[in-house]
Structure formats: C-alpha cells, structure tokens
Symmetry: C2
Subunit: 231 residues, 2 copies
DNA sequence: CAGAAAAATGAATGAGCATTCATTCAGAAT
DNA sequence: ATTCTGAATGAATGCTCATTCATTTTTCTG
C-alpha cells in the first residue's frame, strides 16, 4: 500500500514509501474527498430548497445523513463550506462546458450552437440548480470571494464565445456586427433566460428559449445559422 | 383639520368628520408613511452593502438613525420589512418604466429604445441597486411571495416589450422573426447585462452594453434602428 | 397650557444556530 | 488479537439577533 507522509503531500500527489511521520493512506484520502463532495452536494440541495440564509449546518448534516459536527470537521466553518460549494458548482459547469467544446466537431458555428444548447439543457437549466447559482449571485456584492469565483468563470465563458464569434465573422464577412457585441448579447441572453426559468418556471419553456437564441443567431449570422436547426 | 377614523380608512383615502372611534390625523398618517419609506430605503442600503443574510434589524435602524425596536414598530416583523422592500423596489421600477413610456413620443421603435436605455441608465443599472434585486432573486426559490412579486413585474415588462415589437414587425414586414422571439431576447439581455454589471463592475461599461443592444436591434429591425443611435 | 394619544426608545428576553470537544466507533497496522 | 489513529458523534456552550414591552418623548387637541 502506498502512503503519503501528510495530507499536504497527498494533495500534491507525492507518494512516499513508509516514513516515520504520520502516515495517511490513499484510501483514507479518497474517502475524505468523497465525504467532502457528499457534503457539498447536500449543501446545494439545501440551498436550492431553503436559500443561503435558510440553510443551517444541521440541515446539511441531516441531508447527508450525518451528525451535527460533521461540517466543521471537514470544512472548519460554514463560510468555508459555502465558498467551496460555489467553487464546486463553477468547476462542474466549466467541465460540462469544456466537454461540449471538445465534442463539437470542428466548425465554430456548431460549437457555439452546442454551447447555447448546453446552457438551456436540463442538466444546467433547472430551477433547483439555478436557484443555487442565483443564491450565490445574490451575495456577490457583499462577498468579494464569491464575486471573484463568478467573475472568473464568466470571463472564461465570454472569452470562448467571443473567439467563436470572431471566427464566424471572419468566415462569413458580416460587416454590421462585432464579435464583442454578439458575445455580450449571447452571454447576457443565457443569463437572462436563467432568471426567467427561475422566476416563471410554469410558463417558461426550453423550446421558446432556444428559439429566441436561434432566431438571434440566424439573423446576425444568416450564412451560418438557419432558423430551425444549427449550422 | 381632517380625520381618518382609522389607518385603514386612511389607506383607502376616506376622510371622515370627527367620529367617536380612534382618530388619526392626516399629518400623522403621512408622517408614518414617510417613516416607513425611510426605513425601506435604509433596508435597501443595508442589503446592497451586506446582503439579505447579513442585514440585521439593528443595521437598518442604525442606518436610519433610529432605535432598535423601530422596525418592529412599523413593520411588525423582519419578514414583513423585506417583503415590503421588494414591493417598493418593484413599484419604483414600474413607475420609472411607465414614465419612459409616457414621455417617449409616438413611435414604438423610439419607445423600445428608450426602455432599453432606461434599463442601462445609472438610475437603475448601478451595482448597489442591482445587488438588492439579485439578493431578492436569490431567495425567489425559497420564498413564494418574492417569486410572485418578481414574476408580476417581469410579465408586465415582457408584455409591453412584446407589444412594441409586434407593432414594429407589422410596420416593417420582418418575415424572419416573431415578436415573442425578440421580446424574449431583449428582456433576457437586459437581465443578463445586469448580472455582468454586478459581477464585473470594473470591466463592465454602459457603452458596450448599450452597443450590444443597439447592434441586436439594428440587425433584427434594420429599417427601424441604425447602428449608432435610435430610429 | 393640560391632558391624551401616538411614536420612539432601548434594555431584557429567549430562540436559533455555529462551533467545540469529550467520547465513541471503525478499520488499518503489526 | 491488540493497539493505534483518524473519523464521527451529539450534547453542551455561548453568541447573535428578532422580538417584546415598560418607560420616555413628541405631537396633537381643545
């Protein structure tokens, strides 16, 4: 069995043969990571259901089927738990986003459409998940750390979308728009559609939302997008 | 001096000559209304600064320069205060919105542009105000009352924008878009631009935001909107 | 001006909750 | 089998507020 001489080493992935310092087995490290993830997921469920203000550590522990003190054991404090939850959420989003980029074959137009479809897919665009995002956005002004995390993922998104738009514009010669304009419009649009989905879940529907995006794309980039269907 | 026989009558504006029930003078009623508004404005400042979770009644009272118990005296409970604050916020927005509609002379295109400019004007689009909106949106999922208030103003907004788009489409014969598509896109866009303004206040700027909206309008409704400037 | 009613105060109360920690439990190492 | 270590528990602690209310101050009325 391999050992890490400490949790720190474990994080840096430096396996050591048995040493005389405190030993932490890989199995333990993994178990700990799993527990943390379990707690983070419980936290998201609670925030989705009761909001950030309404979520107590007892709620989270209960949701995870564990005891009172468990959160402080693994996260030291409530603040920490929430910050890591936001980080997890952002990371999760980023990985789905990158997954789509990798899968979408070649053409920038196809990639762009695939990204828009991702944003409006049930995997991301469901009231419960959105509620968590909005709960954190609602705290952005008073919590610089939250702002930083959100800002980072936002910039990344914007950058990718703008690059795709740029390629499309170069490819199609569209004199009336700039990549910056279109990217701003698209990112805002998805964010705004999320708000509608959260606020009017009964009347909101994926189809209309996607249609609005497709309509926009078909009008700005007519050579690359047809009204009903990508590319 | 005129009297109301009770606060309820006062709200309904029914002045009565002195009766043998408890009497409330108009001056008192107005003073009370002013105090309530003062407290609501203090609440918005606090929420903007510390978030909903971080705002205590002591904060609000302090911000207003009054004492501990004042909020409960005027609003009965914290919950009430927050709900009425959201209502006030929505009402304030609606009145600005209607003000623009009345002022904008005649043409639907001019009205639409004026509305977009309002949404991105400093009066509405400043981090402090937006933080309050987002704080409430963040609680929408767990507070049905908040959802209802937000939903109502949202629907109103959507309805007006869609009607304007409809008139523009009829006027200009635009076969490739529907009023619903464009209205959805526009409302989402402004909501999304608010999020960017909140999250990246340093890099965000009104000019780019407006430009993205103008660009969109000039592309969907080319006969009604030119690239740099309305109608 | 006196008396009454309303508004405002702020100390006291107690509920709710994050955090602590002595104790128990589980499983790996020898 | 025994020991040892880290994980987990949950009762206890203490702090932060919302809320109450007896008292004071202000405002109105005749």
């Amino acid at each position: 069995m391999r050992y890490y001489s400490s949790v720190l080493d474990a994080l840096f992935g430096v396996p050591l043969p048995m040493a005389n310092t405190a030993k932490v087995s890989i199995a333990r490290t993994e178990a700990r990571a799993r527990r943390r993830q379990q707690l983070i997921e419980a936290t998201m469920k609670c925030i989705g259901r009761k909001g950030i203000g309404g979520t107590t550590l007892a709620d989270v522990a209960g949701e995870a089927g564990l005891s009172q003190g468990i959160v402080n054991l693994h996260f030291q404090s409530k603040d920490n738990l929430f910050r890591e939850t936001l980080q997890y959420l952002a990371e999760e989003y980023r990985s789905k986003f990158e997954g789509v980029l990798e899968r979408a074959d070649s053409s920038p137009a196809a990639s762009l459409m695939a990204l828009m479809e991702l944003d409006l897919s049930p995997s991301i665009c469901q009231p419960m998940k959105l509620a968590v995002w909005f709960a954190f956005w609602g705290e952005v002004k008073s919590r610089p750390t939250y702002r930083k995390i959100c800002d980072e993922i936002d910039r990344y998104y914007d950058e990718v979308v703008e690059r795709l738009c740029d390629e499309i514009i170069k490819d199609g010669y569209y004199p009336n728009v700039t990549a910056n304009n279109v990217a701003t419009a698209l990112t805002s649009m998805t964010n705004g559609l999320w708000l509608s989905c959260l606020i009017s879940p009964q009347s909101w529907n994926r189809h209309d939302a996607l249609d609005a995006v497709r309509c926009y794309l078909s009008v700005v980039f007519p050579q690359h997008f047809r009204r009903s269907g990508a590319t």
